[in-house]
Symmetry: C2
Subunit: 385 residues, 2 copies
């Protein structure tokens, strides 16, 4: 049925399978980045990002920039905090470590609150930390791609507003935006950074950042100039505002084809944002129940800490990813190995986001669960387990 | 003949028209960025970048990073120079100003040697400047997209090696790589930064930087840490080395579809690099002769200062771009308006790069010249000139 060449089904926690229409947008003919047709598409795409974040506050500002998700860390670190100011990183794995390094590159004093593997830091500990010093910003990874741990963004944001109201709440949503509920205005967030290639369902190459009026204000009232040029909010802000007002503008050439693809997928997603979260939750519940039936324990032990767009599962004692992943591949299914370095050989990751979830006719998730069952049995038999 | 939807021919100085095969690569099905198939393609693409730069020196290092060409300025400014060190910018227009701003963002002391509009700074002035202070690096814009002025990269590099051998020679090749000759090793350059969407013929979204062993050494022997995280050579170097050695590696997710497209176009280009420069020169000569016949004066007055991938032409007295560009568009041809702010309303820009030049069957250049002649006559008549 698909216009795509036959291929194994990509079910890692991003990049993910693409809808045909999204992929077709990628081969849009050459266009000037300042021509009326593209200006309109880019402007609409920015407006769709607001919709994706359920945001109607006109002081909030979306950014779409050529780059990977990682670039969003620089955008935060070079603009929203100054040298010598304090940042609190709620660290649930690999990506908390890296965000902390990025903040330090731009001179922030970083304090990590490390949660045990598979868990998140209790709100009481966050509260105690916030009361100890004055933090310019707090960061949390909404879903840690390395472990599948889901953070309590709403709870943390409420806590911050209560005990340290000026602290900016920054969410790394690379592995959550599009599959986990985010109500940007209602939760009173200051920055959510994400990328195009996970639950948003677009090919990789776009850094997408949503910022609050408070965050923009912080960037504009810095005592020192921004720490970066390409990742400078001051350089991009007029560009984004102009495009959304249907005016061409130039700072750096936008990736026109990727913007078309983003426009296509966001048009699909924003047709029913709550419905999208609901179906991701429903399919996630099904995957997690099936995994439990196969005797596989999740890294994220408590249900409230479990992401809805991916499942990280410990393998049975005696098996490593290399015992199971080839058996999945043989059945046309691609999962990812572990990434958290302390336990990387003990678990595998199954990404269930985007069209693989929203289009049940594809059968991606059912096929994957059947393949997992068989590949596990095969691996156990081979090892005499 | 083309698989692309009917559209006007894009003849601006980037983005440019795409070869069908390049555009087809953009809609490659979803792939893991660490799967063997993609690792091979990315590794080969890095090797093709070496070939594009006619480089065989194993200490040279190519980088391919998700981002626009502008990101290359950050890569240079955050890694190859430290706070308080001197940078000399040979400024031939808009892009020299901006590169200088980027260098200053990261703390460099920038001296601009501004050439008159349409010209370049004489080598004697560059020599005098280099003898006045010690410069960590010198930058020059190989082709200034705003004016079509071609710099003498080879001459400047020779001069630097003679009078200030430790100064790093940094070339902004965004509007030159793929259409102007560059012999990276032979000319002894230290960094050439470019983007995917101009003469390389790939959609926008890739920052491509070629560095010398001397540049890498400068980055690695910094007294202070790099000024950026996403644009850090230290973060990307092992990734590029691993991929080129066919090993998966992760710092940030590469834009898999764009890398496929770059692989496709570089395979085409590197089949005959000298032939590519020759045909761009030949077609450029033809465009410039035709412009002269129409009585249009170039911004770059002296032939040795004229780029071969674009032509910036003053309009006849009494006409502005808005008098002529719609007439071109009516005939299916898109040129760009002026960009250099002092004279923006006085000239237009015609980009002749990539398939529009290398595939004469398309007739792009001949059609454009015919359309230009008609649109000019029409505009003059309308104004009673």
């Amino acid at each position: 049925m698909s216009a795509q060449a036959p291929h194994n089904t990509l079910l890692i926690p991003g990049p993910i399978e693409f809808d045909d229409a999204v992929l077709q947008s990628m081969s849009h003919y050459a266009e000037s980045h300042v021509a009326p047709g593209f200006v309109k598409v880019f402007g609409e795409t920015l407006t769709l990002v607001r919709k994706l974040f359920q945001s109607t506050n006109p002081t909030a500002q979306p950014f779409i920039i050529s780059g990977s998700g990682t670039l969003g860390w620089d955008l935060v670190s070079a603009n929203l905090i100054e040298r010598g100011e304090n940042a609190l990183v709620l660290n649930t794995g690999y990506f908390g470590d890296s965000f902390g390094q990025c903040l330090e590159t731009y001179g922030a004093n970083v304090t990590h609150l490390k949660a045990p593997i598979g868990d998140r830091t209790p709100l009481e500990e966050v509260e105690a930390a916030l009361k100890e010093k004055s933090y310019k910003l707090i960061t949390l990874t909404h879903v840690d791609t390395s472990t599948g741990v889901l953070s309590d963004v709403k709870g943390v944001a409420q806590l911050v507003r209560r005990v340290s109201p000026d602290t900016l709440v920054v969410v790394d949503g690379v592995c959550s935006v599009g599959s986990e509920e985010i109500a940007f205005d209602e939760w009173d967030l200051d920055a959510v950074l994400t990328a195009s290639q996970k639950a948003i369902g677009c090919p990789p190459g776009l850094s997408i950042v949503m910022t609050s009026g408070r965050a923009i204000q912080a960037a504009q009232s810095r005592k020192t100039p921004p720490g970066a040029y390409y990742a400078s909010i001051a350089n991009w802000l007029p560009i984004m505002q102009n495009y959304e007002n249907n005016k061409p503008s130039y700072f750096a050439t936008p990736p026109t084809q990727l913007v078309h693809a983003l426009h296509t997928t966001l048009t699909q997603i924003t047709a029913d944002v709550p419905g999208r979260f609901a179906i991701h939750t429903e399919v996630s519940d099904k995957v997690k129940a099936a995994a439990a039936e196969l005797g596989l324990k999740q890294l994220a032990a408590r249900p409230e800490c479990q992401a809805h767009g991916m499942t990280a599962m410990y393998l049975p004692e005696g098996l490593v990813p290399a015992d199971v992943l080839p058996g999945l591949l043989k059945r046309g299914v691609i999962f990812a190995a572990g990434l958290h370095k302390e336990i990387a050989t003990k678990y595998i990751r199954f990404g269930h986001m985007g069209v693989s979830v929203t289009d049940p006719k594809r059968g991606d998730v059912d096929n994957a669960l059947a393949a997992l069952k068989e590949a596990l049995a095969e691996a156990k038999q081979a090892k005499g387990l």
